[in-house]
């Protein structure tokens, strides 16, 4: 199974290769680009990236499994990442995550059956001043309350 690379992605790849020409530096940006395109990093993508960078696929897999932001399994359309670190926990992480779990009917690490939401717990997102925080596909949502979560998730739906 080979990976189909769209024109847009091809352009991005060329850009990255130009920007970071040395060593294996392109691996991370490329993985970001592929994840943006495909939602997760599959084994095929890793091989593709290795081919682009010109290294053994083992390197790419090492990197893609090492960094927590790269999903090695398919995730839902919206990847809800709730910060569970100390500042957010002090400000009520427990209630927030319980509420989301109940609302979506899934546990942490699971995807809703319709493939829309994936819920995961992450470590500090660097938004401690707005704790508790969550990030959905790159966008931050701070000072969460159950009502606010309702609003956010409903808007996504």
């Amino acid at each position: 199974m080979s990976v189909e690379i769209s024109v847009n992605l091809r352009k991005k790849i060329d850009e990255i290769k130009k920007k970071f020409p040395r060593d294996k530096s392109p691996i991370l940006p490329l993985l970001h680009a592929f994840q943006d395109e495909f939602g997760y990093i599959s084994v095929e993508i890793e091989e593709e990236v290795a081919k682009i960078v010109g290294v053994s696929p083992v390197y790419v897999r090492e990197v893609s499994t090492f960094y927590s932001m790269f999903n090695n399994k398919p995730v839902g359309k919206y990847h809800i990442q709730v910060c569970g670190n100390i500042s957010c926990w002090l400000r009520g992480y427990d209630e927030i995550v319980e509420y989301i779990k109940k609302k979506l009917g899934i546990e942490i690490g699971e995807t809703t059956p319709d493939g829309k939401f994936t819920l995961s717990r992450v470590e500090c997102l660097g938004m401690c001043d707005q704790a508790p925080v969550m990030q959905i596909n790159g966008d931050f949502y701070g000072n969460l309350t159950p009502e606010k979560i309702d609003e956010i998730l409903d808007n996504l739906e």
Binding site: L28, V63, S68, R91, C124, C128, D129
Partner: protein, 421 residues
């Protein structure tokens, strides 16, 4: 009001736009430095300023720059560490969001000083909107000719590139950061050799925190002595204090070095929420030893905090009220370190996992009294035996939490419930 260096543009609308920045006197210092000053002069100013690294370790910046060997024939790199992942820390985000050009100006001056023609800003992967904003700022600077070939017509060349991380706390460690930029796993390197000699792509490299670099234009503008005069001895300038946790107004506050902790909590942050009593404070990001309420009467500079038995770290103050269960709080922290351990060296890899298993067991009500000692024992086994400081960072909170709140841990282990809840 005290002196503002880093936050002086924060109140201006659209402060992140280059036009706003230039109109407020931006890029003047870079231009002056490139045109009028020699690198040695700048280095001298920085050394005089007593500017210490704002990333956490507090290493004198001027000294660090001076380690870069001259005439090796290899390019020199500047890496700006914006992998701000320490729980409780969010000051760099504020700078990038609100004043990215100050950072860029600092980068230009620093690169010029150390002779770098290529600079990387390593920004953590989660800061996606911030990365976009920074990229916009860089593009603006390129358009104005402040970056690229022939800056300010001096013939000096500098490229600034953003490199996005992908979610690894360890990449905040300078050598792990370099590994990450090289496209590898963020596993810290053995030191020596230090990155100032063998760094990115085996070339001499300077790695500085965003806040450190952002201070540079002001130092160049007003001189190192002025900067040094702002704080107590050996602690120059102002500091961004990021306060979070059980306070009414969490956020970033800039003060001179040596600002009293209680004042920060009670005045700037508006006191502990719900009028509760203060229980404990972590004064410098999650990895430093915790302070009990009665120990909090200190000034926030590197040496004073160290004297109190903790560390200023990144200046991220996490406040915990009397309702906080310290066992659960430590569970959060250990979970974090277990999650973020890179797995390279044994004590940290295995020790953090083991500590988490024990504290999870205590919290789930299956604890034994000996477990508290075991936790302490493991932390001691990690401390100082690892490649990078993450091991120490994981061990220190555990040891300090148990040192200072042992009764709470033992109560939980024996009675299977929290003492405060």
């Amino acid at each position: 009001m005290s002196v503002k260096i880093l936050t002086k543009h924060f109140h201006i609308k659209d402060s992140h736009k280059i036009d706003v920045y230039i109109s407020d006197g931006g890029y003047k210092q870079a231009e002056r430095a490139l045109k009028e000053m020699k690198p040695e002069e700048i280095l001298e100013e920085v050394k005089k300023s007593n500017l210490r690294g704002r990333g956490g370790a507090g290493f004198p910046t001027g000294l660090k720059w001076s380690f870069v060997p001259k005439d090796t024939g290899k390019p020199v790199y500047l890496c700006v560490n914006s992998d701000e992942s320490e729980p409780g820390t969010f000051k760099d985000r504020h700078i990038i969001e609100k004043d990215p050009h100050m950072l860029l100006e600092g980068i230009i001056i620093t690169s010029y000083t150390i002779g770098a023609h290529e600079s990387y800003i390593y920004i953590r992967g989660e800061y996606y909107p911030q990365a976009i904003r920074l990229q916009e700022a860089i593009d603006e600077a390129y358009a104005k000719g402040f970056l690229g070939e022939n800056i300010f017509g001096t013939g000096y060349k500098l490229d600034v590139k953003i490199y996005r991380g992908a979610g690894a706390y360890i990449c905040g460690e300078e050598t792990a950061l370099l590994e990450s930029i090289e496209g590898k796993k963020g596993k810290p390197r053995l030191k020596p050799p230090f990155p100032a000699v063998v760094g990115l792509y085996n070339c001499p490299t300077v790695i500085n925190n965003v806040e450190t670099i952002a201070n540079i234009p002001a130092i160049v503008e007003k001189g190192g002595e002025w900067f040094a005069s702002l704080g107590p001895e050996k602690n120059g300038g102002t500091k961004l204090y990021a306060i979070s946790g059980h306070v009414n107004k969490p956020g970033v506050y800039e003060h001179e070095m040596g600002y009293p902790l209680m004042k920060l909590i009670n005045e700037d942050a508006g006191g502990v929420i719900d009028g509760l009593k203060l229980k404990a404070v972590i004064p410098g990001g999650s990895s430093v030893p915790v302070l009990r309420a009665e120990e909090c009467d200190i000034n926030l500079d590197y040496d004073s905090v160290a004297k109190a038995g903790s560390m200023l770290g990144s200046g991220a103050v996490i406040v915990m009220s009397e309702k906080t269960c310290m066992v659960r709080a430590l569970q959060r922290l250990i979970h974090f370190y277990k999650d973020e351990s890179c797995g390279q060296c044994t004590p940290c890899r295995e020790g953090t996992g083991w500590m988490l298993k024990i504290i999870n067991r205590i919290v789930s009500g299956n604890g034994r009294k000996e477990d508290v000692d075991t936790l302490y024992y493991i932390a001691k086994g990690i401390l100082g035996h690892t490649v990078c400081p993450l091991g120490d960072a994981a061990a220190m909170p555990v040891m300090s939490f148990i040192d200072k709140f042992r009764d709470e841990f033992e109560y939980f282990a024996i009675n299977k419930k929290s003492k405060v809840e």
